[in-house]
């Protein structure tokens, strides 16, 4: 990119200016490169730092079988502290599962409506509403679970406690749905119009176009949307902390209170001494969360990129 000095002999002032610009250009290139790789630095940093804080537990009291297969999370027991996260995994899984049961059909339905049926103003307005819904902070959702859903569930189902799998599942479903809707809608819109036109030209009805042409053509994108929704539900912290009831329990019905992996960290980290086994065990849960969300995001990315290639 730099001009050859020989070309500008006799124009030394001009040469100097150009040279300085060249150095600035190089400096900027290096600076933006460093900032550009910051995302990688942070991801590696997150893994490194949570591992660093949790490693004492991993090399010490960590017992693979107990950690993953014992339902007893009793880190503060005076007699025999146990660190089993099975019940917490069950809590997270049950809440996320119920949320997806609600969110997947409805958000795909909503995405199909917005992408294939709604037109003009309706479409614009719905897209804005979906975007605004996605912005409601998770602590507000938790508060809604606590103060609106809780009494509602107690009254409607005549149960003693309303902070349950059902409550958190609905809350999480409503939270994840807007995000899934907007990603799924993008995937549907990415199907070229000529596919639809070709199908219509063959005499296909509107629903045949949607079910036989548009949905199959966009299935990778839709799957990506579902996976991102799962990741969102799985990693959600404040809403599940406030709406699940926070009781360590392997649920047998949707009216049981549970406790999630994320909520356990949020509730207990403040009460542990830095460097204690309990503290390190919480960071180990963090490692589990990080690894699982990493796998979910990686898979979603590979699937979504699959459509672009295919």
């Amino acid at each position: 990119m730099q001009s050859e000095p020989v070309e500008i002999i006799g124009a030394s002032a001009d040469f100097d200016r150009r040279n300085r610009d060249w150095y600035i250009d190089r400096a900027v290139q290096i600076i933006v490169f460093i900032c550009g790789i910051s995302a990688i630095v942070f991801i590696v940093g997150i893994f490194a730092f949570i591992t660093m804080e949790g490693v004492g537990f991993l090399v010490g009291d960590f017992n693979f079988t107990e950690f993953f297969f014992s339902p007893n999370w009793r880190p503060t027991s005076e007699v025999q502290p146990t660190y089993g996260i099975l019940a917490l995994i069950a809590g997270t899984a049950s809440v996320t599962g119920l949320a997806m049961l609600i969110a997947i059909p409805f958000s795909l339905g909503a995405a199909i409506f917005i992408a294939e049926f709604a037109t003009g103003k309706t479409r614009e307005i719905l897209k804005i509403v979906v975007e605004l819904l996605a912005a409601i902070p998770s602590v507000v959702w938790g508060f809604i679970g606590l103060s609106i859903m809780n009494p509602l569930i107690i009254e409607v189902f005549d149960v003693p406690v309303g902070l349950t799998v059902l409550n958190a599942g609905i809350i999480l479903g409503l939270m994840a749905a807007p995000i899934m809707t907007s990603i799924a809608e993008d995937a549907l819109k990415a199907v070229p119009d000529r596919y639809r036109e070709a199908a219509e030209a063959m005499g296909a009805t509107h629903w045949q176009v949607i079910f036989k042409v548009v949905l199959p053509a966009s299935k990778n994108g839709l799957l990506g949307a579902v996976l991102l929704g799962v990741g969102r539900g799985f990693g959600e912290t404040m809403a599940v902390l406030m709406a699940t009831g926070h009781a360590i329990n392997i649920p047998t019905s949707v009216f049981d209170s549970v406790r999630a992996l994320t909520a356990t960290i949020a509730a207990e980290l403040g009460e542990t001494a830095v460097g204690s086994t309990h503290y390190q065990a919480l960071f180990t849960i963090g490692i589990v969360l990080f690894v699982i969300t990493f796998i979910i995001n990686l898979t979603a990315d590979l699937i979504v990129r699959g459509i672009r290639k295919g």
Partner: protein, 274 residues
């Protein structure tokens, strides 16, 4: 026709409960909102009085987080849009950005504790909390900026290079001025995200209650999002309406920011010259 009704119904099922919920928030929280509520301190163990320290704390946290993440994110987006080649390395960066956005907020909190509070020795402070928030919301800035940079036609750059401008001169004089409002929409979105986050600040710098206002970035602070958690779960004898008031202020703030960002985006789309 049947399917139109079915899918329309499904859309309504998603939107209506939320509208009802927001309606309830306004109905129950609305009467709480007053100038006094916004600008006085909480009293009587937070069961009365206003939310001023929490509101101010959120402003602190958001501003410091923006000071860190906006320059970093914009520069990263410039690299990705203007310099990066389409190869495995750039894909790795993109994957890292997706993951940064996907990592659970509580894991970001753990990172903040391990890195900023303990390792770098900032303690529980506004600085540590804002750094954690900045890392977490970095993808919002990067993605929005990259999109608006890429929306600037390639011919603009070519024309500039042909005049003998360097890459940086082209970016500074031609690309950025044409993309700046797009960048702004991303920044506003980030403000809204940052203001609403709770988990990442719980252990890095936000306190349940403080009798004084923060004087600098090494002080702890109260925050609106954490305040909602505290008044709705941690304080016995809380009057029913007060948490609704806090929730309404928080939701109002976030939705206002988002609406502003959307309006700006639509205005831009209308003004597009190319």
């Amino acid at each position: 026709m049947l399917f139109r009704i079915l899918f329309g119904f499904m859309t309504a099922t998603l939107v209506l409960p939320v509208v009802l919920i927001l309606g309830t928030l306004i109905y129950k929280g609305g009467p709480m909102i007053s100038v006094d509520f916004l600008f006085t301190n909480p009293v009587q163990g937070m069961t009365a009085g206003g939310i001023f320290p929490a509101l101010l704390g959120t402003v602190w946290l958001v501003l410091v987080a923006l000071l860190i993440s906006v320059p970093l994110g914009v520069a990263a987006a410039i690299y990705l849009s203007e310099y990066a080649a389409d190869n495995w390395f750039t894909r790795a960066i993109n994957l890292a950005i997706i993951n940064l956005a996907g990592v659970p907020s509580i894991v970001h909190a753990l990172f903040g504790v391990g890195a900023f509070v303990i390792f770098f020795g900032f303690g529980t402070s506004i600085l540590a909390a804002s750094l954690t928030l900045a890392v977490m919301t970095l993808p919002v800035v990067i993605v929005a900026t990259r999109e608006s940079l890429q929306a600037v036609p390639y011919a603009f750059r070519e024309a500039c290079w042909n005049m003998g401008a360097t890459r940086w001169q082209t970016i500074r004089r031609v690309v950025l001025p044409n993309a700046i409002t797009g960048v702004l929409t991303g920044v506003i979105l980030e403000v809204s995200r940052t203001a609403g986050e709770t988990a990442p600040i719980m252990f890095t710098g936000a306190a349940f209650f403080l009798p004084f206002l923060p004087q600098g970035v090494f002080d702890q602070t109260m925050a609106l999002s954490l305040h909602l958690f505290v008044v709705s779960t941690q304080v016995p004898g809380m009057p029913e309406q007060l948490p609704f008031g806090v929730a309404l202020v928080l939701v109002g703030l976030v939705l206002l920011m988002n609406s502003f960002s959307i309006a700006l985006r639509m205005y831009l789309r209308g003004k597009k010259k190319w």
